[in-house]
C-alpha cells in the first residue's frame, strides 16, 4: 500500500481552508461541550443507541437541516460565480465540484432524510403502531445513511470532491478522465447511504402492511401513510439498480473493469441507462411522500376530508408504475431512435394525468372548506401554482423532439427546481410546521414562519423563473461562466439576487427553530390544529410507547370522527396492559462506524486496510445473528403515570382528560 500522505488533505484554496478550520472548530466545540456538560452518556443512551422511530426520525430531520445548509451554500456559491459574466470567484474545477455536491446532497442527503425522517416520526403513529416492524434495522438504516452522508461530505477537504455532476456520467466519471479519488467518494458514500435507504423501504412496507391498528384497512389509511407505502415499494424496486450501478462504477474505478469505460468494449450509455433507471423513480421517491404531506395539511386546514380519496390512491399507484417506465427521457438526445423516443415521450407525458388528478382533488378538497392560513397551509397553497409551472414545463420537456432544444439547458434546470423545490422542500417545511408540536411539544413561531414562507417563495421564483428564459436563449447548465456578449448577464444577475432572498428565507427558518426552542410556549395541546388522523390522538411530544392502548379505527380520518362522536378518546384504566418494547442497541452505530471506515479506505484504494476493516462488518453481522434480546415490558404503573401527566395538561384536548 503506497500512501501519498501529502495528497490526502486538500490545500491551497482559501474557501476550503476556511471550511477545514470551521470543521475542526465545530468538532472541538461539540466534543468540549459534551464533556463539559457531561452529556456523553445521555448522547449514547438517548440518541446513538435508540431504536425509537420518533428519535430516529428527528435525527434524520436534523441531518436534513444540516445538509440543506451545506447544499444551500454550494448553491449560493454557484449563483455568486455566475452573477456576472466572466467572473473569477470560482475556477472551473471548483465550480464543477460544487454543482456536483450540490446535486447529490440536495437530492440524497437533504430531501431523502427530511422525508424519511417525517415518515419515521409520523407513519407508525398514523397507523396506530408502537414502532416500525424492525426497530433495530431502522436504526441501522439511519446510521448507514448518516455514515454515507458524512463520508461524502468530508470529500472536499480530504482527498478531493467528486466533480462529474450528480449524474456522474461516464466516461467522464471514469478513471480515464477523472483519475483523482473524488469520484470514488461518489461511488462508495452513496452505496453506503443507499443500503440504508433500501432497508428503510423494506421496513416501511412491512410496517404498513402488517402493523396497522385494529380496523384500519388499506383504504382507511391516511394519505401520507399511503404515499409512504408506495414510496417504499418504489425504493425496493429502484435502489437495487443503483446499488449495482455504483458497484460497477466502483469496479471500473478501483479494479480496472470495463463496464462503462471507453476501452475494451465498455458502454458509457449503459451508465446513463442504469443511473436513470434508478434516478427517475428516485424523483418519485422524494415527490410522493411530499404529496402525502400536502394531502394531510390541506385536509386539516380546510376542515374537510380529502376529496377523491380513492382516485388519489389510484393516482399514486399509477405514478409509481409509470415512474419505472420513463427513464429514457433523460437522454432522448442519445439517439436511441425515433421509436424509443416516441414510446418514452408518451409514458412521460402520461405522468401528467395522475398528477393532474391529484391537483384537482386538492383544489376540490379546499372548495366548500374553511381555509385557515397557518404556515403549514401556506406552504401547501404555495406549492400548487409553483408546482403546476414545474409540471407543465415537464410535459414540454417530455416531448422528445422539443427536448432536443431544451436538453441540458437552464430551461431544464429551472424545470426540475420548479418540481423539486415546491414539490419537496415546500412539503418538508409544511410537514415540519405541521408536525413540529407532535415531535417536540411546542410549536414553531407562526409569525416567523410566515416571513420564512414569503421570503422563500418570492426568492425561489426570482431565482428560477429567469432560468427558463436563459435556457431558451441558449444558456447551458453546469457552465461555470459565460461571455459578456452572450446577453445572459441581466437574467443571471436577477437569479443571483433571488438566491439571496431564498437564503434569507432559510435563515429565518433556522432562527425560528432557535427562537421556538428557547421561547415558544410549552404545554400546547396534543391536538393544536384540530387535526384528523391518529398521530394527534396521543401526547405531544409522543411518549416512547406511542399509545397506551392501541386505538380502534372505523373510518378514514379516524381521530376527527372520534372527536365528532366523542368516543374512543378516554383511556379506561382497566384497559391498560403491559407494553412490550424493543431494547436499545449500539450495534447499528457500530456498523455505521465500520462501514464508514471501510468506505474511507476503499475511497483511497487502500485495499488491504479496507479488507481488514470489512472484517468488522462481518463481526457485526455475526453478533446480530446471535442476539436474542427480546426487548422489555413497560409495567402498567409506569404507563398510568405517564398517561395521567399529559392527559391533564392545560390546553390539552378536553376530551382527553380521563
Amino acid at each position: 500500500m503506497d500512501i501519498k500522505w501529502n495528497e490526502i488533505l486538500i490545500t491551497g484554496d482559501p474557501l476550503i481552508l476556511g471550511s477545514q478550520i470551521a470543521i475542526v472548530l465545530t468538532v472541538i466545540a461539540i466534543v468540549g461541550g459534551l464533556t463539559y456538560f457531561k452529556k456523553w452518556g445521555w448522547l449514547w443512551r438517548e440518541w446513538l443507541t435508540t431504536v425509537d422511530h420518533k428519535k430516529i426520525g428527528i435525527m434524520y430531520i436534523l441531518s436534513g437541516v444540516l445538509m440543506f445548509f451545506r447544499g444551500g451554500i454550494d448553491g449560493l456559491l454557484m449563483k455568486a460565480q455566475t452573477a456576472r459574466p466572466e467572473m473569477n470567484f470560482l475556477d472551473a474545477q471548483h465550480y464543477n465540484e460544487i454543482f456536483t455536491t450540490h446535486g447529490v446532497i440536495m437530492i440524497l442527503f437533504m430531501a431523502m432524510p427530511f422525508l424519511i425522517g417525517l415518515m419515521n416520526v409520523v407513519v407508525p403513529l398514523q397507523i396506530g403502531a408502537r414502532d416500525v416492524a424492525f426497530p433495530q434495522l431502522n436504526a441501522l438504516s439511519f446510521w448507514l445513511f448518516f455514515s454515507g452522508a458524512m463520508l461524502f461530505n468530508i470529500s472536499f477537504v480530504v482527498g478531493g470532491s467528486p466533480d462529474a455532476g450528480w449524474t456522474s456520467y461516464f466516461p467522464l466519471a471514469g478513471k480515464e478522465f477523472s483519475p483523482g479519488v473524488g469520484n470514488n467518494y461518489y461511488a462508495i458514500a452513496l452505496q453506503i447511504a443507499g443500503l440504508g435507504t433500501l432497508m428503510t423501504g423494506i421496513n416501511f412496507i412491512v410496517t404498513i402492511l402488517k402493523m396497522r391498528t385494529k380496523g384500519m384497512t388499506l383504504i382507511k389509511m391516511p394519505m401520507f401513510t399511503w404515499t409512504t407505502l408506495i414510496t417504499s415499494i418504489i425504493i425496493v424496486a429502484a435502489f437495487p439498480i443503483f446499488t449495482v450501478a455504483l458497484a460497477l462504477m466502483t469496479f471500473d474505478r478501483l479494479y480496472g473493469t470495463h463496464f462503462f469505460t471507453l476501452s475494451s468494449g465498455g458502454s458509457d450509455m449503459l451508465w446513463a441507462n442504469l443511473f436513470w433507471l434508478w434516478g427517475h423513480p428516485e424523483v418519485y421517491i422524494v415527490i410522493l411522500p411530499a404529496f402525502g404531506i400536502f394531502s394531510e395539511v390541506i385536509a386539516t386546514f380546510s376542515r374537510k376530508s380529502l376529496f377523491g380519496y380513492k382516485s388519489m390512491v389510484v393516482s399514486i399507484v399509477g405514478i409509481a408504475l409509470l415512474s419505472l417506465l420513463v427513464w429514457v427521457h433523460h437522454f432522448f438526445t442519445m439517439d436511441a431512435g425515433p421509436a424509443v423516443n416516441s414510446v418514452f415521450s408518451i409514458t412521460t407525458m402520461l405522468i401528467a394525468v395522475p398528477t393532474g388528478v391529484k391537483i384537482f382533488n386538492w383544489l376540490f378538497t379546499m372548495r366548500k372548506g374553511r381555509i385557515k392560513f397557518t404556515t403549514a397551509m401556506l406552504w401547501a397553497l404555495g406549492f400548487i401554482p409553483n408546482f403546476v409551472i414545474g409540471g407543465v414545463t415537464g410535459v414540454m420537456l417530455g416531448m422528445a423532439a422539443a427536448d432536443y432544444q431544451y436538453h441540458n439547458t437552464l430551461f431544464l434546470v429551472a424545470h426540475f427546481h420548479y418540481v423539486l423545490i415546491p414539490g419537496v422542500v415546500f412539503a418538508v417545511f409544511a410537514g415540519l410546521y405541521y408536525w413540529w408540536p407532535k415531535m417536540f411539544g411546542f410549536m414553531l413561531n407562526e409569525k416567523l414562519g410566515k416571513y420564512h414562507f414569503w421570503l422563500f417563495v418570492i426568492g425561489f421564483n426570482i431565482t428560477f423563473m429567469p432560468m427558463f428564459f436563459l435556457g431558451l436563449q441558449g444558456a447551458v447548465r453546469r457552465a461555470y461562466t459565460y461571455s459578456a456578449e452572450s446577453g445572459f448577464a441581466p437574467l443571471f444577475l436577477v437569479s443571483a439576487i433571488g438566491s439571496i432572498i431564498l437564503a434569507l428565507g432559510f435563515a429565518v427558518f433556522c432562527y425560528n427553530i432557535y427562537w421556538s426552542f428557547r421561547y415558544a410556549k410549552r404545554n400546547v395541546s396534543s391536538d393544536p390544529w384540530d387535526a384528523r388522523t391518529l398521530e394527534w390522538a396521543t401526547a405531544s411530544p409522543v411518549q416512547f410507547y406511542n399509545f397506551a392502548v392501541l386505538p380502534e379505527v372505523k373510518e378514514i380520518d379516524a381521530f376527527w370522527h372520534m372527536k365528532k362522536r366523542n368516543s374512543g378518546l378516554v383511556l379506561k384504566e382497566e384497559e391498560i396492559q403491559e407494553i412490550h418494547m424493543p431494547s436499545n442497541s449500539g450495534l447499528p452505530f457500530y456498523m455505521a462506524v465500520v462501514f464508514g471506515i471501510t468506505g474511507f479506505f476503499l475511497v483511497f484504494e487502500w485495499h488491504m486496510a479496507a479488507a481488514v476493516a470489512a472484517i468488522g462488518i462481518v463481526i457485526g453481522l455475526i453478533i446480530r445473528s446471535f442476539d436474542y434480546d427480546d426487548g422489555y415490558h413497560v409495567p402498567v404503573e409506569e404507563i398510568k403515570n405517564i398517561e395521567s401527566k399529559w392527559r391533564k395538561v392545560e390546553g390539552g384536548v378536553k376530551h382527553h382528560v380521563g
Partner: protein
Amino acid sequence: MEYKTNSKYPISHIIGFFLSLLLTFAAVFVALEAQLSFTIVMWIIGSLAVLQAGLQLFMFMHVTEGEDGKTNIINMAYSAFVAIVIVAGSVWVLTSGHAAH
C-alpha cells in the same frame, strides 16, 4: 392459509426436484443438440428457465402459504415486472437507433 405440515413424505419436494432435473436436461438438449435457430433456442430455454423458477417458488418456497400469501404473490409478480422492464428495456434502448452502430 395452508401450511404443508401434515404429509408424511416430502412428495412435493421430490416431484419438484425431478421436474427441475428434467427441465435442466431439456434445456441442455435444446441448446446443444437440437438444430434450431438461435432465436428459437433462446425462447425455448428461456421459457424452461421461467418454468423452473416457478417450480422452485411454488414447490420449494411455498410462496402462497401463510397470511401473506397474496402479498408474496403480488410482490413476486411486481418484481418480475420490474426485472423484465430493466432487462428488456435496457437491451432495447441501448441497441436501437443510430447510437447502436
